[in-house]
Symmetry: C2
């Protein structure tokens, strides 16, 4: 599996192109609406046949490019069932599998940041969305987030993956681009090194973060798959 990481400077978002080298069947994970032309340029130059537009969750800090990319590639949009999305082609649940040529993508439900977070597992790599970030994790204080679910997703699901699993997050705010499960088991400052749920919860309850600037337009925009000029949700 080939992986190409892309960065949106305005929202600190990582988008990923993943593809099967032999067949060029591809997925785009967590696109950003302002970067659709850039992403399409790369898709065309690399000769990729985009089959899936995978969302790790309904984002609150940027609007997805999935809708516009679907129009341009014919690919299917995948979002977790809990999102209640009316525009996605596939409402995924834990254990669902998708194929890209000779490669398989598995869905792990890792809620906590929202109720609809998916980690996509592909060939030894975990695309962890806003659940597991490098040395960090997503906030839990809106969008049906939950300290209990986040702690469970981190310690009972993600930290149980093989230590060498590569971790590719949806954001980073310090300039880290990737990690491994082994590193996060040990060095994640919120839930690593066997930190208790009580300690984790105390950290999360005291973050005092402002709401994302784009919250009010991002969530409704993403529930329309980024088709923000359409009247319908389709």
């Amino acid at each position: 599996m080939k992986i190409r990481q892309l960065f949106d400077y305005d929202t600190w978002t990582y988008t990923y192109l993943v593809w099967d080298e032999e067949t060029k069947e591809a997925a785009v994970i967590d696109s950003v609406i302002e970067q659709v032309d850039r992403d399409m340029q790369h898709i065309e130059e690399l000769g990729l046949k985009v089959k899936y537009l995978l969302e790790t969750h309904i984002h609150a800090d940027h609007i997805t490019g999935a809708g516009p990319l679907r129009k341009r590639t014919g690919a299917e949009i995948v979002v977790h069932k809990n999102s209640g999305s009316a525009c996605a082609d596939v409402l995924a649940i834990e254990g669902d599998k998708f194929t890209l040529g000779n490669q398989e993508i598995s869905v792990l439900h890792t809620p906590g940041h929202t109720n609809n977070d998916i980690t996509y597992l592909i060939d030894g790599a975990a695309f962890t969305g806003d659940t597991l970030l490098v040395r960090d994790c997503g906030r839990t204080d809106f969008q049906l987030g939950s300290n209990e679910e986040m702690y469970n997703s981190l310690t009972e699901k993600l930290f149980k993956l093989p230590a060498e699993t590569m971790v590719f997050p949806a954001h980073d705010y310090k300039g880290f681009t990737q990690s491994t499960i082994g590193e996060e088991q040990e060095y994640n400052v919120r839930a690593g090194s066997g930190k208790s749920f009580e300690d984790f919860s105390t950290i999360m309850d005291n973050l005092n973060l402002p709401n994302p600037k784009r919250l009010d337009i991002s969530v409704p925009g993403n529930l329309k798959c980024g088709n923000i000029s359409d009247d319908s949700a389709a």
Copy 2:
């Protein structure tokens, strides 16, 4: 060889940690002085023994963290001989080789952005500094830059590497993180697809770029290896 890419948001600079997995011997390529603590945290958590601090050139847009990192790791600073650096431990020239455990780093002199650009070749990856950028190349209008040398470095040296060679640049301004030589041979907008020197030179002569904001402090700071509080160059 393991590679970890890091990003400095203020100067759009990519720093790289590269290491031999077995021995943990490591190099840091193009560090940024403001990120030394972050880089050291990662170095310590990953258990890396930093042997070399590799500079791709004397930067004009940020100050290197090499001096501070040398103090904290004991590693040797490597800069091209043409830089005239009085603080580096090694003044490298084309063909020089360095070892990290079982891995070898080779020096390719790829001038054009400056007169002292190095591309470091490591295990199928090219760290191309400001010479080859994704779909782009570094400017040639100061620091002894040269259209002739840049064109030669791109077309006669870098584009002659195996097509599958991974390209890791020192900067990107659109959110690209890497490329391959094959892609750049074909899609580099300045020198790809067999573009002539005349066409290349016309593009370069009409970029009309402002001087980097930090030019006046970066070049002298980097000629002191980032030891900006020292009186001496050492």
